[in-house]
């Protein structure tokens, strides 16, 4: 189990990470989500041993890694732009880690035959059988990333790290490769940290999502937990969950917005401005027995977009909902929504 304990790191004199603590359990894939420049990559570099925390500790199975140089940590790292060795072919790139392992434990030199067998297993795993002697510079972006993945997997690392691995690829390739990575992680049971700024990737691959904002983890939960309750406007916006609207507390249990007054207790004083999450609820609960935050709102349709199997409707005030049938622009429709307080 990997654990980060109160890690602090500044970059060029400015605080970058103020207090980072989290754990990665055996076989778990966590996704580190944050805007660019939020310090996600720095966290990976510190775990890999390529950078050092100013304060705090990084532990593997309760052992502090501070004194362990990167080449003795047995971790795998996959970069956005692959970082393949341009002077080596596909086989030698994948074999690199295995050969280094051989050098490390003298006397237990890894046999050439073993290396060959392992590289071929890896090539098969990432669907590149027969690519052995190809030059990495001649491969497509997707193929290069598969090689990088195979290279990281080959020495059976204790932890795999992905730094925006699909950022440079186009959309369809991205989905394919993402599913493959997911499959491989499930199959190999190697714990993994996956860094991205793309919420779709995060929801697809993560057992648990950590949202990084202003130097600290502001949300930690499974994808469904976070989808149901993003807690803050920042997380809702970053993950594209529902609509975030402005409101004002008018009475103890009532919040006034441009879409009407909702019965909500947000633990705020009268007159305070707050932000609310408006999620479309597909199945309205039983008539008459409305739960907390359930409401109906009237929406004037301003724009209708065709989105594969449904229509995306943009309404007054920028509210976005989805429907199976397309209304006409200018229609007033009634929408069942779930409203929540955000911090």
């Amino acid at each position: 189990m990997l654990e980060l304990r109160n890690v602090v790191k500044s970059y060029e004199g400015k605080p970058l990470l103020t207090d980072i603590s989290f754990t990665v359990a055996e076989g778990e894939t966590i996704c580190l989500l944050g805007a660019s420049g939020s310090g996600k990559s720095t966290i990976l570099r510190m775990i890999a041993g390529l950078d050092f925390p100013d304060r705090g500790a990084i532990l593997l199975n309760n052992l502090d890694l501070a004194g362990t140089p990167p080449h003795l940590r047995d971790f795998g790292l996959v970069f956005q732009d692959y970082g393949l060795f341009p002077h080596l072919n596909v086989f030698d790139n994948i074999a690199f880690g295995l050969k280094m392992k051989g050098f490390k434990h003298e006397g237990h030199e890894v046999h050439k035959g073993e290396i060959k067998k392992r590289v071929h297993e890896m090539l098969e795993l990432v669907n590149l059988t027969g690519f052995d002697s190809r030059q990495v510079t001649d491969l497509s972006g997707g193929e290069q990333q598969r090689v990088a993945l195979a290279r990281a997997l080959a020495p059976s690392p204790r932890l795999l790290m992905f730094d925006e691995p699909l950022g440079a690829l186009d959309r369809s390739l991205k989905e394919d490769l993402l599913n493959e990575i997911r499959g491989i992680l499930h199959q190999t049971k190697i714990p993994a940290i996956y860094v991205t700024h793309d919420q779709e990737e995060a929801f697809t691959i993560a057992d648990r999502i950590l949202v990084l904002h202003e130097g600290t983890i502001i949300r930690d939960g499974t994808p469904s937990e976070i989808w149901k309750d993003p807690q803050s406007a920042f997380v809702a916006k970053l993950l594209g969950i529902g609509n975030v609207i402005e409101g004002e507390v008018v009475e103890m249990q009532n919040v006034k917005t441009e879409f009407g007054v909702f019965a909500l207790d947000c633990n705020k004083h009268v007159g305070e401005k707050i932000q609310l999450l408006v999620q479309q609820s597909s199945s309205p609960s039983r008539r008459g027995a409305r739960g907390e935050g359930e409401a109906q709102i009237q929406l004037t349709v301003e724009d209708v977009l065709f989105k594969r199997d449904q229509f995306q409707i943009k309404g007054r005030g920028g509210l976005v909902i989805h429907m199976q049938e397309a209304p006409r622009i200018g229609d007033v429709i009634t929408v069942q929504v779930q409203v929540k307080c955000l911090s």
Partner: protein, 571 residues
Amino acid sequence: MSFLPTLAGKTRSFLSANSRILLWVPTLLFLFSFFFFPLFKILALTFNLETFTDLNNLRITFHSLRFTFYQATLSTLLTFALGLPAALLFSKFNFRGKTLLRALTAVPFMLPTVVVAAAFNSLFGQRGFFFLLSSFLSTTFHFPLSTNFVLHPSPFILILIAHTFYNTSIVIRIVGNAISRLDPKLEASARVLGADTFHVWKDVILPILRPSLLAAALLVFMFDFTSFGVILLLGGSQFATLEVEIYIRALQLPNLNLAALLSVIQLIFTLIFSILYSRTINQVSTQTAPRFSPTRPAKTLTERIFVFALSLLLVTFFFLPLISLPIRSLTRLEADRGQRAEVQYGFTTDYYEELFINRRGSLFYVPPVQAALNSLGFAGITVILSLALGYPAAYALAKPTRLEKFLDPFLMLPLGASAVMMGLGFILAFGRLIASPFFIPIAHTLIALPFVIRTLQPALASIPERLRQAASTLGASPLRVWQTVDFPILSRATLSAATFAFTVSLGEFGATLLITRPEYPTIPIAISRFLSQPGGLNYGQAMAMATVLMLLTTLSILLIEKLRFNNAGEL
């Protein structure tokens, strides 16, 4: 001139095939009479029974070839010993004064050999600062002079140091570029995959840098291999490299068969090195990332010491000779004429004043300043000649036909021949005719022409047809189009090419030394003669003239750099 029909605003069709051939006539005629004909003469003399039957010829050839390889290898090693850390310094770290220091290391590469030789002489020569200091130390404190290795290096060491002074910037440029293009993720990947520092270098960094290291080594080795002026002026003719031996066998101990044989061997090696170089330099681009990784300030103590010590060393090494030369040219360190007993020290402008006086018994029949006037005259003719010949060829090469692409390497071939070899070719081909001073600018033009064509050609090719079309649809007359579109781009390139030809001619030493007559000395010839004569006044005049030449060259370099910069900004 015949290529002015750009006025018509058409690209290809304005010249018929016949008139396109006309573009080539002057340049090819020139090269055939002054390069290929002399080359043919050299070859004819080489492959002659007499050349090979004389065992002495073969022995001398073997010895000078061995010594050339020996000194070039040592020089290259020394250049790398300084150049590699410097390349690392410039590509990895940020520090105050970095741009200036980098520019300083690049200055020697452009300086004429006589200036570099004079500059080193002003430090280490018999009348140089360090030599005087070491004799002072040995007489005052009884330091043994022979052990005073640093202040008084042997001529051979001095040659190696001067070569290092010249070529370090090549290593900095080629290897430094490659280092700064190294993707830092490669090192990170290797470390995470289990490579320690040793294996990171052995298995990742060095293999990726290999083509750049090899390219830099080949280029440095080639320059050291063909070095002439530095070796002759700092070492003397006992340091018989191929080049020096050619010179000796052409003029001092005439044996033209041997000189021709040595030239051909020299040419073969230069061509081999050039081919190997262009092959390796092509690999450089494919193996490194297209962008630069950022530099950073030194962080750890080791890094700080490295940056500080190395930049101090570089400043000393590159600035000391450059500043010592002008200072020495204004310093009196010996007894006055006729007053041998009393040594006077201090500031003097005598050496400069003496340049204007035609003394009886002086080295020339004319006042030394005449050498400067000759040089300027020759340089002027070189500029006109190389532009007149370079323009039509560059124009044809800007949009070449298949046949013309085939001709291109022939235009560049003179680059492979050494200056001394050209001089020898002139002697063999034209015999007594070379008494005419006009052969000097012709030789200079041969050397400058490839560069002039390579400067003009991209500028001519870069003028986009769309620009001309846009200008004419906006109502510009053909003349206005030429004025507003063609002229501004071409004028820069032309000025740049002209300055280059001018600089080459001013500093050219090897070819001029072989074909010059005593009545028409150039600045470099005058400097070399002053240096080879005894007497403080002669020495001082060498310093003064070398200082003038250094200033002229530096100004020209600055002009070229400025023009290139503006040009790049606009295109």
